[in-house]
Amino acid sequence: MTSTLSHRLDAIARKFIPAAMGVFFVLISTVPFYIPGFGTVSPNFVLIAVFFWAIHRVELISSVTVFFIGLLLDILVGSPPGINAAVLVLVRTLSAMQSRVFRGKSFLVLWWGFSLVAFCVGFVTWGLNAIYTMTLMDPLPIIFQMIMTVTVFPFLAWGFAKMHQKLFQIA
């Protein structure tokens, strides 16, 4: 009886951890750090989370989850609604399609793949913002943001990998 309960709890945890983590990273992205210039270059933690889980367990993060996490990020950050939602859904699907390239390969391959994704995301976000506001904005902040994101990727990915191992008992 209790074992089935704990089993079910485990299953629920597995199902909801990525989504809950997504919301958590959205919130973290908005925490004021009071470091001059950090506000504009805070790393995009959500992108890392979506990329990692799309590669390793895409079934856990459905398009719906990613869509709403992106929308929440847009609303809390105050950027035009829909931009992050569109970008994250695209990243999720494209990463999942290419997951075979990365799974089981060395970490450097994953990192390299992520940096490619990050710079594409930066470019697309910049383009969408430019279309939305009808102004060509300085691309420097987004370039810095993406460099920051790629820099913190190993730390977060390491944590995710540990969590992945724990949750799915991978030796």
């Binding site: 004021p32 950027s79 943001q145």
Partner: protein, 297 residues
């Protein structure tokens, strides 16, 4: 037979599943673009939705921002201790200078008062202020706004000027029930009518997401010098007149820009002020800035 049925099921179900998944992906991409377009057209509805969402998350944001604020205060404390002697000396010297100014100011205030009585001048209405704490930064690369922990329940309204210590920081763009979004003067959507220098040339301070906003609609015959003070003009009635905004500085391309008086990247507390209050009895000061626990010593 059983086996055959199983295989045919796989044969049909699998492509359908893939189709649905692919369709879901396309659906959400289009939905996102739809929201983008709609938010351009239906700004009121989207403002409402985003206000409600920020309101719901504001307690969480407030809780998450507290440790960061505490760390920041602790770091500042250490920094202050290190510079105690020098700062003390500087402050003493400044104090002497300011005492002379105070003398002058009292004299001028008295003269001003008597002249105003002579002219039957209508004085500026009293300003009401609400002190708030910043609970969320815009982490995005294309927005310059912050969320504060006070909303309509505390009297925050759209359009109120946001001031932090040295001067103008921005204005309230959206007011929820218990949170509000403040658009900073550096944001691309920010426009502030200002007066420049002693000649009080009129211009519009226009943000462009860079650290230093631009000046637009500057008269052709305006003589603007580096270091000239920039204050709000009060035109348009959004901002109270005379709030310090910043100083004229040279931009990265040698153009005329304004360096804000407020360190906008490290805003911790913001005072929101009404430009117009109806009656004097309306005057009250609300403090929503939580007293943050500072580690002793």
């Amino acid at each position: 037979m059983n086996r055959r049925r199983g295989s045919s099921e796989v044969g049909i179900a699998a492509p359908i599943k893939v189709l649905i998944q692919r369709f879901a992906f396309l659906f959400f991409v289009f939905a996102a673009f739809g929201i983008m377009l709609l938010s351009k057209a239906e700004t009121v509805v989207f403002d409402k939705i985003s206000t409600v969402v920020v309101d719901i998350f504001s307690p969480l944001l407030g809780a998450l921002s507290e440790p960061a604020a505490t760390v920041s205060i602790a770091v500042n404390r250490v920094h202050e201790l290190a510079n105690l002697r020098e700062e003390n000396l500087l402050l003493k010297r400044e104090n002497e200078r300011l005492l002379v100014w105070k003398e002058a100011a009292t004299r001028l205030a008295a003269t001003n008062q008597s002249l105003q009585t002579l002219l039957n001048f209508k004085p500026e209405p009293d300003l009401r202020s609400i002190t708030t704490r910043v609970i969320a930064n815009s982490g995005g690369a294309f927005v310059r706004s912050v969320v504060v922990n006070a909303g309509e329940s505390e009297g925050v309204r759209k359009g109120q000027a946001a001031v932090s210590g040295a001067g103008l920081a921005g204005r309230v763009a959206l007011a929820g029930y218990q949170s509000a979004r403040v658009l900073l003067i550096t944001d691309i959507n920010s426009r502030v009518p200002v007066l420049i220098g002693e000649r009080r040339d009129r211009a519009i301070l226009a943000g462009d997401n860079s650290v230093m906003p631009r000046l637009t609609f500057l008269p052709v015959n305006a003589t603007v010098k580096l270091g000239d003070g920039v204050v709000t003009s009060g035109h348009g009635g959004v901002f109270p007149p005379g709030l310090q905004v910043g100083k004229i500085a040279e931009g990265p391309e040698g153009d005329i820009r304004v360096r804000p008086a407020v360190a906008l990247e490290r805003l911790e507390f913001i005072r929101l002020i009404d430009s117009i209050t109806k009656t004097r009895t309306d005057f009250k000061v609300i403090d929503r800035a939580h007293p943050i626990r500072v580690p002793s010593k």
